[in-house]
Symmetry: C2
DNA sequence: CAGTGGTCTAGACCACTTT
DNA sequence: AAGTGGTCTAGACCACTGA
């Protein structure tokens, strides 16, 4: 029996540009390349990691396609930031019926830490007995109440997040204060009718229909980081979804 | 005054690979490359249109990214088809809460042509007095009624579509019988409560909440082709949306 | 085995931005 | 003018498929 001829095990194959991509993601995760950072030029990066410029380019192009980098011809390549424009474009799908997307203001109703519920533990991948920070707030567009939002964060990952004031733009805050970047999210939608308490906050009668949006936000490392349940009025707005 | 020195008008600049891409889309629109068609190899195409293989590749890659082509290593590149798998993945976002996507069956309630309403004319870009074919059907998953769907098609583009039986899988039917390929779609979602008639069909009490999905489907040429309003029960299912 | 798409490289030139 | 990303090319080799 021939011992030396190993079978062609294709098991560990991983394209160079993907390895390069992983390295770049790691730099973002580790904070070496923070939000807004101007990357070295393609040529420099290629020399640095020891591959051709074309391979670096393919890695950067894919990261730009995932909205993690922003490329600007003549200027350079930047780490994406959670500015208002990006959030409106990438994460906020509720649009007034006039078609002009606007950023909602917020009024915090409650912010404190609690023992995680079973749903929170399941969604965020937490063990029993873990604590979460929970924020409940009302959001309005043009001073018209539109959304009641309850969000849960692993307390260990966001220590003291409910101690101070909670800013309106949370994803920029997570990045700046905790070094946690929200990269992607999954939303599940259901139609419900409002109970008396929620209806009062949104100035509608009990039993009024609303859109319930359950969002799980994932970090750069694809770990679940935030669980958010929103009740949205869709009388004068709609949730917009494109299928490419 | 110097008449010969024109300013450097960058007006007509269009990358080669985009022109190649346009040419390939045209071949699909014209039916030269029908659904499921196996394209010539990259090398042949490059020679045919007179560019390098790399340029053809970039065009094909973008088209694959838009789900208009499917590439398979070792096999070749194919024109995308509206098979059940693609529709489930790309166009059908209502998923049972168990997380296992399934294709719904249909029962046609009504199918005929009518003068287009103002909404239909506006959405489909039709002139006054135009006729539309309208189909109303109930859709069920695992024999449980889930959706009431009303769809409108320009009669001129789909002549006689309501004369025969209406198949369950419409997008494959549009492609095969009318040479119309649905490429993309836009959906607007609202929460509503069911009226007595719709509630009876879905076996729920009047006033029960439901998700209203208004879909405008676009052809390869980016023209609006189908207007579809669906009322979906979300008691045991949800609309799933990813944000990349 | 031949043929396909997938990866990787190297180099040239173009368009855009900033100095 | 210098530096950036964007396009285009040509050629080599790899991984996958099917005969």
């Amino acid at each position: 029996m021939e011992m030396t001829s190993a079978q062609p095990v294709t098991v560990g194959f991983r394209p160079l540009y993907r390895q390069v991509k992983d390295e770049f993601v790691k730099r973002m995760v580790d904070g070496v390349w923070p939000a807004g950072f101007l990357l070295p030029s393609e040529g420099q990066l290629a020399q640095e990691v020891g591959v051709s410029q074309g391979t670096v380019r393919k890695a950067l192009d894919e990261l730009a396609g995932e909205n993690l980098l922003v490329r600007q011809q003549g200027r350079g390549t930047f780490v994406a930031q959670h500015d208002e424009k990006r959030i409106l474009f990438q994460f906020f799908k509720l649009v007034p019926d006039d078609g002009i997307a606007r950023f909602p203001e917020s009024v915090v109703l409650e912010a404190s830490t609690f023992p995680a519920t079973e749903t929170e533990r399941e969604q965020l991948g937490l063990g029993p007995g873990t604590r979460v920070a929970r924020v409940r707030r009302m959001r309005a567009i043009d001073d018209v109440p539109m959304i009641i939002e309850t969000l849960s964060l692993p307390d260990a990952m966001f220590p003291g997040v409910t101690d101070g004031p909670v800013p309106n733009s949370l994803y920029a805050f997570y990045a700046e204060r905790y070094g946690v970047t929200i990269a992607h999210a999954r939303e599940k939608l259901k139609a419900i009718t409002l109970n008396a308490e929620d209806a009062a906050i949104l100035r509608k009668p009990p039993g009024h229909p609303a859109l319930m949006v359950q969002r799980l936000a994932l970090s750069l490392e694809a770990k679940p980081v935030e669980w958010r349940v929103s009740l949205c009025l869709t009388d004068d707005a709609h949730y917009l979804s494109f299928m490419r």
